[in-house]
Symmetry: C2
Subunit: 236 residues, 2 copies
């Protein structure tokens, strides 16, 4: 059967600073009888990337401390409502609360976004090539809200080995007409697709996406290709 | 293999007003040796829905006519830049140029958004149940830009048989902690996932998504669950 196949890698335990993510990924993947193939794409959620890179800080659970952390992780606040902040991070992401993850509050910790998620993705890719001699693409994902639509979706915050935006401008449709638009943010579509198999409560920080079109693979990064500069932005 | 499988239905010809979309879908699907199964989800792009419903108007190719059409299809204009308009449609969608599709300009026509894409999805679902006695979910998709990120992604503009937003609030993560957030806009994640197999140039208005979690199926609509009311919106 043609098409895309997306599956979660289950059974990955808690991740600590210094853990080798590729080792954890391969162990869990191979224990479920799978292996990674050339032209697979591996999705890694930002939380385990951040934890392995030591982006965990103590958090006393107070509102004041929460707002401090958000401020530290932001370069700008676009909107405030109650204790919600819509922020711009040093990466150029616009998201809620600077991506500070307080869901570990019971531990007395908060998890920050990885410092350079594109670099994290490149490292995962290089490590996987080194230990399994296979070329995959990698996307690091996080959960963002949207401006005019309810609900959150997962998007790409880092990538390697994939063209984050696929430029279809200048190509022709089935009737030979020149297409309007469109640069498709395939990295974000892949991030969201992977979230459909990851869920939130299963301890599954990795997914494998198999069957992507060859044309998706190539150079680029989220920082260079997806982050919109303030100059091009009608809503900043 | 577990997980999600997504494939395009190829070989669907041009769609005209009055065409039976379910008939076109089944013919193309079955010609490629596939069939539709219970708990599949069928993705249908808005353009063929609009065409089958006669949402096609003549268009003289001029800038003035383009702006007229956008105005007719909008209830409000949020931003203007050159000939780009960021608009609110009668459905409550905020998108570029009120979703007016000018890519058929060489025909002297423009394609508008379906009037009620949730109803279109419900009709497709009911028709498929009637002719094949199978229960599937249906999502009608369109291509939207994003505020702070480059590139477009496909999102759900109509749905039937699926809960567009999955409420994970109050559930627990793998360590038994109460999860922060999050209502996940699975309908939009599915729409984007399907776009990864559809491309723009292949004449493939349908995709099948197989293997979605049972909990995804249920009641709701894009209009009720995903469209954010202006009151809840920090950027309108």
């Amino acid at each position: 059967m043609n098409g895309l196949h997306i599956f979660a890698v289950v059974g990955v335990g808690p991740v600590q600073q210094g853990d080798d993510l590729v080792e954890l990924f391969l162990k869990a993947l191979e224990e479920q009888g799978e292996k990674v193939l050339a032209n697979d794409l591996v999705v890694v959620t930002s939380k385990v990337v951040a934890k392995s890179e030591g982006r965990v800080v103590s958090f006393d659970g107070s509102e004041a401390h929460k707002l401090d952390l958000i401020e530290q992780e932001s370069v700008r606040v676009l909107r405030r409502r109650g204790s919600l902040r819509i922020t711009e991070t040093p990466h150029g992401f616009i998201n809620a609360n600077a991506g500070v993850d307080l869901s570990n509050t019971s531990d007395g910790t908060a998890v920050l976004l990885p410092t350079d998620p594109d670099r994290s993705a490149r490292r995962f890719r290089a490590d996987l090539r080194r230990v399994r001699n296979v070329d995959v693409a990698v996307i690091v994902t996080d959960t963002f809200g949207r401006v005019w639509r309810e609900g959150v979706t997962d998007v790409a915050i880092g990538s390697a080995g994939i063209r984050p935006i696929l430029d279809l401008r200048g190509t022709h449709d089935a009737n030979g007409r020149l297409l309007e638009a469109t640069e498709v943010a395939i990295a974000d579509e892949i991030a969201g697709a992977a979230n459909l198999v990851l869920g939130k409560a299963l301890g599954t920080p990795f997914a494998v996406v198999r069957g992507l079109d060859q044309s998706f693979f190539g150079e680029g990064s989220v920082r260079e290709n997806i982050v919109r500069s303030a100059n091009d932005d009608l809503f900043r």
